[in-house]
């Protein structure tokens, strides 16, 4: 069950990296909604919201269905969403650590260069 591919992780993580998209997921966790509903809730254009929903849909986090003229969005597979959130949390931790480590590494490099010149 827990065999993942790079692509799926990347897509899910990219989908979760945006605050609006996380908000959309939260919203859909409460109730299904049309793109128009979501656009007005998040004060966005229809086109902007369509893009966000498209990203979530590609990641499997959201599914949409068009009935008549209305496209209704609902949460995708819960398990996939949970796994994506789980990985995103690791990603957030390690990115933050390694960005801080970059600073130390730069500092040590400068110190080495300085010592070489002595």
């Amino acid at each position: 069950m827990v065999q993942h591919t790079h692509t799926r992780f990347d897509t899910s993580f990219a989908a979760l990296s945006d605050a609006t998209r996380r908000g959309v997921l939260e919203q859909l966790g409460r109730a299904d909604a049309s793109i128009t509903d979501l656009a007005s809730k998040f004060h966005m254009t229809l086109t902007g919201m369509k893009k966000h929903v498209g990203v979530l849909e590609q990641a499997g986090l959201v599914t949409t269905q068009k009935v008549g003229r209305v496209r209704t969005c609902k949460l995708g597979h819960r398990q996939l969403a949970e796994e994506a959130a789980w990985i995103a949390r690791y990603q957030q931790l390690w990115s933050a650590r390694f960005d801080a480590l970059d600073k130390i590494v730069e500092e040590l490099k400068r110190r080495e260069n300085f010592d070489d010149r002595e």
Binding site: V2, Q3, H4, H6, F9, L16, R22, L25, E26, L28, G29, R30, A31, D32, K74, L75, G76, H77, R78, A81, E82, A85, W86, I87, A88, R89, Y90, Q91, Q92, L93, W94, S95, A96, R97, F98, D99, A100, L101, D102, K103, I104, V105, E106, L108, K109, E112
Partner: protein, 172 residues
């Protein structure tokens, strides 16, 4: 504008990849623009390690850090800002190859991982690979939330999101 430069803009950081390669294994990779000896030093010198292992950007802090970096040597890190409520993290180094490889156990509980970090240098840059192997699938599943305990704020948002998804209408 500052025109062309040889180096990348400062804001650019190398990407961190996270992959769960099996039910029990997690692999994280990241490149650093420095030779392995420098990156290794930042992992094995307590006063340096303390400055990045608990990033302030995540609201984390470390109270103390002791490291005896040799095979059979131990480490002990206390997370938190108040000694009365410190979260200890401790274990033993099981493999130490200077500037190349570091492995340790994690012994706060039976669910702790064995972590192996390799430092592969090429053209003055270092590719770091961190591999955590957990005793069971459940231990790794649970650690997703365990790690979050140490970093309250931003991770709290994701926890909330996860909770929302968990109770949402998507369940069959």
């Amino acid at each position: 504008m500052t025109g062309n430069r040889d180096r990348e803009p400062i804001a650019m950081t190398n990407p961190t990849t996270v992959e769960r390669t099996s039910e029990r294994d997690l692999v994280i990779t990241r490149s650093f623009d420095a030779p392995a000896r420098i990156v290794f030093a930042a992992w094995t010198t307590p006063e340096l390690f303390m400055r990045w292992w608990a990033p302030k950007s995540l609201g984390m802090s470390i109270l103390s850090c002791e490291m005896d970096v040799r095979v059979g040597g131990s480490y002990r890190i206390a997370f938190g800002s108040d000694p009365a409520n410190a979260m200890p993290f401790f274990g033993t180094y099981i493999d130490v190859i200077p500037n190349a490889r570091l492995a340790w156990t994690n012994e706060e509980s039976a669910e702790g991982a064995v972590t192996t970090v390799t430092f592969a240098e090429k053209d003055g840059k270092t590719l770091l690979t961190l591999h955590e192997r957990y005793p069971s699938k459940e231990a790794l599943d649970a650690n997703g939330t365990g790690a979050a305990d140490a970093m309250p704020e931003q991770f709290g948002q994701l926890d909330e999101l996860l909770a929302t998804l968990g109770t949402g209408g998507a369940l069959p």
